[in-house]
C-alpha cells in the first residue's frame, strides 16, 4: 500500500535534506528546482518504487498568472499509485527541469506540453513541437489563446 501524503512528505524530507514539500489533500507541491531529485527519490526508494510517470500535463491559470505542472506517478512493481505531484510556475516564464533523464516516458509527454502550453523543459534531449507543425505561432491550450476564425470574411 502507498503511504499517505503526509507520510510521503516526511519520508522524502528525511531522505533529501533541504527539500521541503507542501501537502494539500492528496497533492504534493514541489518547487521546480527540487522536482528531479524528489522524483528520483520516489522512484528509487524501495517502499515507493514509483517506476513510471503515468501522466504529465499542465493547467493554466491566467487570472493568477501561474501555470501548474501536474505529474501522476505510478508503480508497476508495487501496483500502486498514482501519486500526484504539482509544480507551480510563472506562466510568463514557464520553465521546469525535464523529467526525461529520470523517466524516459516523460519524453513525448513533455514535448506535447511544450507544444500546447509553451512550458520549457530544461535538459530535455529533443524539445520540439510534436502535434503542431514547426513555425506554428502560440500555444493553443493556454486559456488566453485566441482561435483564429477560419470562416470569417477576409478584411477588405
Amino acid at each position: 500500500m502507498l503511504p499517505a501524503p503526509e507520510e510521503l512528505k516526511t519520508t522524502i524530507e528525511q531522505l533529501l535534506p533541504g527539500v521541503t514539500l507542501t501537502v494539500e489533500g492528496a497533492i504534493l507541491w514541489v518547487t521546480p528546482a527540487n522536482l528531479p531529485a524528489v522524483c528520483r527519490c520516489l522512484k528509487e526508494t524501495e517502499r515507493f518504487s514509483l517506476d513510471y510517470v503515468a501522466d504529465l500535463t499542465a493547467v493554466d491559470y491566467p487570472q493568477d498568472g501561474r501555470m501548474d505542472m501536474v505529474y501522476h506517478l505510478c508503480s508497476m512493481a508495487k501496483r500502486h499509485g498514482p501519486v500526484t505531484l504539482k509544480v507551480k510556475l510563472d506562466r510568463n516564464n514557464a520553465t521546469v527541469p525535464s523529467l526525461t533523464p529520470v523517466y524516459r516516458g516523460a519524453e513525448y509527454q513533455e514535448r506535447e506540453t511544450y507544444d500546447l502550453y509553451g512550458v520549457t523543459f530544461e535538459g530535455h534531449p529533443d524539445l520540439r513541437r510534436i502535434l503542431l507543425w514547426e513555425g506554428f505561432k502560440g500555444h493553443p491550450m493556454r486559456k488566453d489563446y485566441v482561435v483564429e476564425d477560419q470562416d470569417a470574411p477576409a478584411p477588405s
Binding site: A54, V59, H72, M76, A77, R79, H80, G105, I130, W133
Partner: protein, 384 residues
Amino acid sequence: MTPLGPAASVKPVDTELMEVNLGPQHPSTHGVFRMQTVLDGETVVKLKPVMGYLHRNHEQIGEGISYIASFPFTDRLDYFCSMSNNLGLALAIEKLGAIQVTERAEYLRVIMAELTRVLNHTAVTGFLLNDMGAFGTPLLYAFREREKILDFFEAASGSRMMCNYIRPGGVRVDVPAGWLDRVREFVEGYPRFLDEFETLLTNNEIIRQRTQGVGVLPKDLAVNASATGPVLRASGQAYDIRKADGYSIYPRFNFKVPVGSVGDVYDRYYVRILEIRESLKILQQALKEIPEGPSASPKGAALVKAPRTFRPPKGEAYGRVEAPKGELGFYLVSDGTPQPYRYHIRSPSFINLTVLEDMCLGQKVADVIVILGSVDIVMGEVDR
C-alpha cells in the same frame, strides 16, 4: 579476358547514409503517420516519428462543452475501441462527482469492454499479418469475427463503431431482449475460431522467422518509458490496471495476466492471443452472473437528460482503465462550472511510441513496418 587483380588493390566501396521518409501516406502506418528514418544500406540507424496530421485539439474542444458532451468525441480517439474510451471518461467523471453505478450497468460495462478487447486484438493480429505481407486472408478472417462483435454493439448502442454508449452512473440504454443470449452463443463459439486462427499463425515457420528476435524491448526500458498494455506485458512485466486498480467489478472475476519473456514482435502477437482467451473467460463469468435491474443510477440517468445541470464540486480526478492498447487515463479539473476547467487524455498509443526508435535501431527497414504493426497504434488517439 583480363584477370582480376589481387584483392588488396580493390578499393572498398564508399557508402553513405540515406534518409527515407516512411509515410505519411503508407499502407503500414495505419493512418497518417510518418517515420523519418536514416538508413545505412537496409539497416536503420535513426528513426524519428512525426505525428499530428490528425490533430484537432480534442482537449480544447472538451474544455468548451459539458462533461457528457465529450462522450461522442472520445469515440473518435481510438475508433476501434470506443467502448473502452467511454468507460475511461465515465470513471473519471464518477470520481469527480461521486456518482454511483448500478450493479447491472457494471456487468454491461465489463461485457462491452471485454468484447472490445477481443475485437481489437483479433483485428490487430490481422493487420500485423497484412504488414508482414500476408495480404488479405488473415485480415479477412479477423474482420469476419470483428463484424459479429460490431453487430452486437450496433444492436445495443445503435452504432457499429462510434458507440457513445457508457455514461456516468451506468449505460445509456439497456441491451435489447435476447442480446445476452446471442453474446453467450458467440463467446462459446469463439475459442473454435481462435484455435483455427492459431493453427495458421502461432507455429507458422514464416511468421516465426519474421517476428522472433525482431524489435526487442527490454523490460526495464519498457517500464521506464511508461509503455503499457500488451507492449509492456510482452516484455515480461505483469502489469494490468484491471488487477492493479481493480476498478469497476474486475476483482470479482477470475482471470490471468499473460506475459511474454523476450519482448519481441512474436511475444506481442502471442500475448494478445492469450489476452483474448482471458477476456473470453471474463465474458463467460459476467454473462453468467449478470443481474436484472436498472441500467443507470438515478443521478446518472438525470445527467443524461440534462447534461449542463452537472456541476461537480471544485477538485480534480484522474480516472484510468486498461484499454486494449494500454493505460487510457482521463485527467479532469473542475472549477464548479458545467464545463471541465482542464480535460486531459493520457493516450496509450501516443506514449507507447516513445520507444519506437529504440525497438527499430539496428533492424532492417522491412522489420520497421512489422514492429510498428506490433505496437498497435491508432492515429485518432495518437494525435487527438
